[in-house]
């Protein structure tokens, strides 16, 4: 139990996928213009991350390892991730057409979110068990959601503030992300994974 809580704290704060490992920066920059879209994106990504880390663990443990096909894991994981993203898109389209319109192309793009593949591969590399893998994926998703929503909130405020002309737009967003990343470095050493 402690071990699962440690995994959650570790992935959400200490080794946050976006701000410490620098994975998944594309949606971090792309879908952070307003909070609603960011929250929707976080939920969709959380679903995909948890689903795909479970599926890729099972695939690796029960198909690739017995057949000695570990070298195929990147391709196999990408396949699993693509399928779970398609499934998520199906569900989003059915459950929330409005969210589907807001997120648009960014839902299929979860498939290219490197955090998703990163979680699957880290799970295998660090030889975690099934439950730990799922929690690792879920923690990564929580961390992604936390950072994305915080960043979206900051960007909404930045829109209303008087930014020097040459820093407007992406420039100030990137600097904000850098400062957030520095802040998250403060958590390093709090929990070991």
């Amino acid at each position: 139990m402690t071990d699962l809580i440690l995994i959650l704290i570790g992935t959400v704060l200490v080794n946050n996928f976006v701000l410490v490992r620098f994975l998944g920066l594309c949606p971090f920059m792309g879908v952070s213009k307003n909070i609603e879209a960011a929250a929707g994106m976080s939920m969709a990504t959380a679903f995909v991350l948890t689903l795909s880390s479970a599926a890729s663990y099972l695939l690796h443990e029960y198909v690739l390892l017995p057949l000695q096909l570990e070298y195929l894991r990147t391709i196999a994981f990408i396949l699993v991730i693509a399928a779970s993203v398609q499934f998520t898109e199906l569900m989003v389209r059915r459950l929330s057409p409005l969210l589907d319109q807001v997120l648009g192309i960014f839902i299929p793009l979860i498939a290219t979110n490197c955090a998703v593949l990163g979680v699957a591969i880290l799970n295998v590399q660090e030889a975690k068990g099934f439950v730990q893998s799922v929690f690792f994926g879920f923690g990564a998703a929580l961390g992604f959601a936390l950072v994305l929503i915080m960043f979206a909130a900051i960007r909404e405020r930045l829109d209303a503030s008087d930014v020097p002309l040459s820093f407007r737009g992406t420039a100030i967003a990137l600097m904000t992300a850098g400062i957030m990343s520095l802040a998250f470095m403060g958590f390093s050493g709090m929990a070991r994974m």
Partner: protein
């Protein structure tokens, strides 16, 4: 060696097939909902965004039709054929084009009182079906066959030189 390669190919292929089957099964289990119906209805509408139906544009009207809040015969630019197409798409009773608003009883088109026109291009920009031609500082005119009689060109005209006349 060949064994290993063929196993690898087999595994990846069957993975892809399984994923594809699962997805197509899921697609059938969770079929397209009302939203896709809205898209289909929207595709039948003329996209003039003239708002004569009482909704802000074609898509809101399509949404209202799908939610059964609006009748299918409120679209004057689409005419009777659009109403009939909507009836067959949605399986509803065919209705004559609504006579609730007067202009649908007789089709009307805009006409520009040409001597008064100052060539400001404002009505041209407002026209949803590009039925007004004319360049800046030159007299404009209406292509009568393209005009849907939506009246969107009336408010922008600074000299009020546009009027709607019934088609003979």
């Amino acid at each position: 060696m060949t064994d290993k390669v063929s196993i690898a190919i087999l595994v990846i292929t069957s993975l892809a097939i399984v994923a594809g089957l699962l997805l197509s099964f899921a697609g059938r289990q969770f079929p397209a909902n009302a939203d896709d119906l809205i898209e289909q209805v929207n595709a039948l509408l003329p996209q003039t965004q003239c708002a004569q139906c009482g909704y802000p544009g074609c898509r809101p009207y399509a949404a209202a039709v799908v939610r059964q809040e609006a009748e299918i015969n409120l679209c004057p630019p689409g005419g009777q054929s659009t109403a009939d197409n909507l009836a067959s798409l949605l399986g509803r009773r065919e209705l004559p084009l609504s006579s609730a608003n007067e202009y649908t009883q007789t089709k009307r088109v805009a006409i520009i009182d040409e001597p008064l026109c100052i060539g400001c291009t404002k009505c041209r920009d407002a026209c949803p079906v590009d039925a007004i031609v004319g360049a800046h500082q030159y007299m404009h005119t209406v292509i009568a066959v393209e005009c849907t009689g939506c009246e969107l060109c009336l408010p922008p005209c600074p000299v009020d030189c546009i009027s709607l006349v019934p088609v003979a």
